[in-house]
Symmetry: C2
Subunit: 465 residues, 2 copies
């Protein structure tokens, strides 16, 4: 393997073994988990162990105008970490220190390579809790969570990643180090730069440290499961819970396709005639939680639930939640999956379910819907045979039709997975030409050479004037 | 009064009477409530009634490269709405429609001129609640709240303005209309532009509409008041409440100067020997709230409180909160006030109180401290005789020393009031040269002519290269 000048210069400033350019190894870092998301073969992979390492990579990249793609564990679902031809894929998983836990000020300082679950485990003995819990929480890294503004099951009560960011250390395209935000709960000194980098999918800078706000560890949850004979009834229940002013700590929904897929696999005795299953928890503690779940039960019955079951037994609650977590792997037993991520107004959930059923019939592909009903963020998942080119095309068509449906219902094309390379054209549709021009202007201001994760999130529109 | 071409062009596109250039009238719109914040005499004042009006103003301003200062009610405390010589002060108070309240999706769409309290009143019949509650909530407007990312008493539990922004309509410097965000709870399509405009103090665009997230109306609060013989004991109580995982809906603190000032004025029978008074509420409802406040009472006693009183009587709670709200007017009886706004880590509250006492002695000015102890955001308020130039200078010196102290304690120079013209030099100190350059680059990207509220928040640093 002959090193090119970029690889040589990278190696000159990084520890031994930190730069890999063996094509097969490089290829293994060229994609995240997203099907259909375009990716290219990078020139090399660089592993950073410190902010200084990241600065070195950015300086070499700037000197040679070579793209840099920051990357964590690779659990992404939109291709944001996919390789760019000739670029450097910068892997941050080795920057995995939990730098500080400060219980009095309820904050933690972390490096980007810390696995979400590892932070949760480290916080528990302090009675503290970092809420964002994407489904991949046992292997995704916080850097990726920050860069995609990850959500999860907790969002209906606690919010998403950006709601827990107090401050960041970011290496800019120039190699300079920017510190944003603060360690205090409140602060309005200058522009909110932290939240500009959160969700920017690595196109504006490389996050090398984050100061995260924490919450007190909540009480063990009380759980409800309810089944419905129609999507409309389930949708009404979700809406009525919101109208009643109840804020559950979790409110998940599975459609009939998912219910049957899980039951086919695990024989859990789920109601196979149900059109929707709702799972709801309260972590408010003691009698308060019981009362909240009783109220939800009452509203589910009023909305026409066929069966409602509640429990304050934690293990039983975990079992019920387990069935929900099985939905995606259960669908994967039938073929490859293309996971959509639309978020619609809470009041439009039934319309989204019904519309997805229509699209499934029209395109001739199985689509199971599972998702975060409490905040209207649903994951219609298209199942297809990856060896059947015609079915693959129909699956991709269905995927697009669902995005179209989400937009038509007043929603967004991505509730929590991001744009990456997968939905670049859809972003343009959602935000329109003025929005695109503002994106391009900000990108240009922070990365004038266009070397940070180019081609992700949006394509720069032609300049005017 | 001879109209200049700018005024003529403004008038040509706006309703009769919407442009005022009579100097005395113009002068009355040249300042907000901040003492010491530089201000200049604008060329004219324009009153907008619609987004189209705002676009017209921005287009005329861009054509003639004339500064535009957006302004709401003028309740600001940092001079962000202060006039710029030769500029147009654009008043948005007449855009005061509550466009929509959507209970199922817990959101409201508002124009910038809506008074904070008017929104709260309109939401109540729907069982809904918009938490941010700056002290001026009965006359400040939501546009100003958004532009300064206003806080208030609720923040310790509910967060600040930016936490409630789903989407914005913004008129850019070019006169184009940008729509940011969405109507859904979650969404990660593209950069978080909403939160870039929130807190930007009108330097990046003019907010003409906002989609705000709402919460269910909380239960009537249970209240605690506790007095302490030392600031250290009060500080410990605040910290122990946080460590115990209790999240009160309000946690306010008054120092001995404020306690005596209020008692001198209203003879409420407050403990005049107390060094600090802590006021705490829980709005969690029923027995849950009672239990939370009992836990806080226990922690206050353990920390050495001299007296602790709790009540679930709503009127009594309001009376107690009333004493806290009297702190500032009570101090104003002794002279002019210069209100500081430092936020420090919760664990540093006692240090801030003690340091402020030292500064008071060193500078020979009375300083009362009142503030939001639960989130470490305190308002040391310097009292001085405005006709005494020497005392005025000492007051301004004390003001600066407090900011320095806040920074030294790991805090920020502004927790919720903003930078405006008052703290431009302090922002530079807090965020450093890289932070300043990023601010300038973003400003330049969105307002290349530099016409939007120039001189506010930061001074552009010299360009490099």
């Amino acid at each position: 393997m002959v090193d090119d000048v970029v690889v040589s210069e990278l190696r000159a400033g990084l520890p031994d073994g930190a730069v890999v350019n063996e094509p097969d190894l490089v290829a293994s870092y060229a994609r995240d988990m997203a099907m259909f998301a375009p990716s290219e073969q990078p020139r090399c992979v660089a592993f950073a162990r410190s902010t200084a390492d990241v600065r070195h990579v950015m300086r070499v990249a700037a000197r040679h105008r070579v793209p840099v793609v920051p990357r964590g564990a690779g659990s992404g679902l939109a291709g944001a970490a996919n390789g760019v031809a000739g670029g450097i894929t910068l892997v941050l998983t080795r920057m995995d220190a939990i730098v500080e836990i400060d219980p009095a000020n309820r904050l933690a300082v972390v490096e980007p390579g810390v696995v979400n679950l590892d932070l949760r485990k480290a916080l528990e003995p302090h009675g503290l809790f970092y809420p964002p819990d994407p489904s991949s929480y046992d292997w995704c890294t916080l850097g990726g969570n920050l860069s995609t503004n990850a959500g999860g099951l907790c969002c209906v009560k606690y919010g998403v990643t950006t709601d827990f960011v107090l401050g960041l250390e970011v290496v800019l395209a120039s190699g300079e180090v920017l510190r944003t935000g603060r360690r205090t709960v409140k602060g309005v000194a200058g522009y909110d730069l932290s939240r500009l980098f959160v969700g920017a999918e690595g196109t504006l800078g490389v996050i090398t440290q984050a100061t995260l706000a924490l919450r007190p560890l909540p009480a063990a949850p009380v759980t409800l499961v309810a089944t419905f004979g129609s999507t409309a009834a389930a949708g009404r229940a979700v809406q009525d819970v919101a109208l009643a002013g109840v804020v559950p700590s979790l409110m998940e929904l599975m459609d009939s396709t998912c219910i049957r897929a899980v039951d086919d696999w695990k024989q859990l005795g789920l109601d196979r005639d149900a059109q929707a299953l709702l799972l709801c928890q309260s972590d408010s503690g003691g009698s308060h939680a019981v009362a909240e779940i009783e109220r939800v039960a009452e509203l589910c019955r009023k909305a026409g639930a066929t069966e409602v079951h509640t429990t304050d037994d934690v293990e039983e609650g975990q079992l019920l939640l387990g069935a929900r977590r099985l939905a995606l792997p259960a669908l994967e037993r039938y073929g490859a999956t293309l996971i959509d991520d639309v978020a619609v107004p809470r009041s439009a959930i039934a319309d989204l379910l019904d519309g997805t059923d229509r699209i499934s019939a029209e395109c001739g592909v199985r689509i199971g819907v599972v998702g975060h009903a409490g905040d209207g963020n649903m994951h219609p998942t298209v199942v297809f045979d990856v060896t059947d080119e015609d079915e693959k095309a129909r699956a991709y068509d269905a995927f697009g039709r669902i995005l179209e449906l989400g937009l038509a219902l007043g929603g967004t094309v991505t509730g929590e997975h991001g744009i990456g390379t997968l939905k670049v054209d859809w972003l343009a549709r959602e935000i329109g030409p003025v929005g695109l021009r503002v994106h391009a202007a900000i990108k240009d201001a922070l990365d004038p050479l266009g070397i940070l994760n180019p081609g992700k999130v949006f394509r720069a529109p032609p300049r005017v004037g």
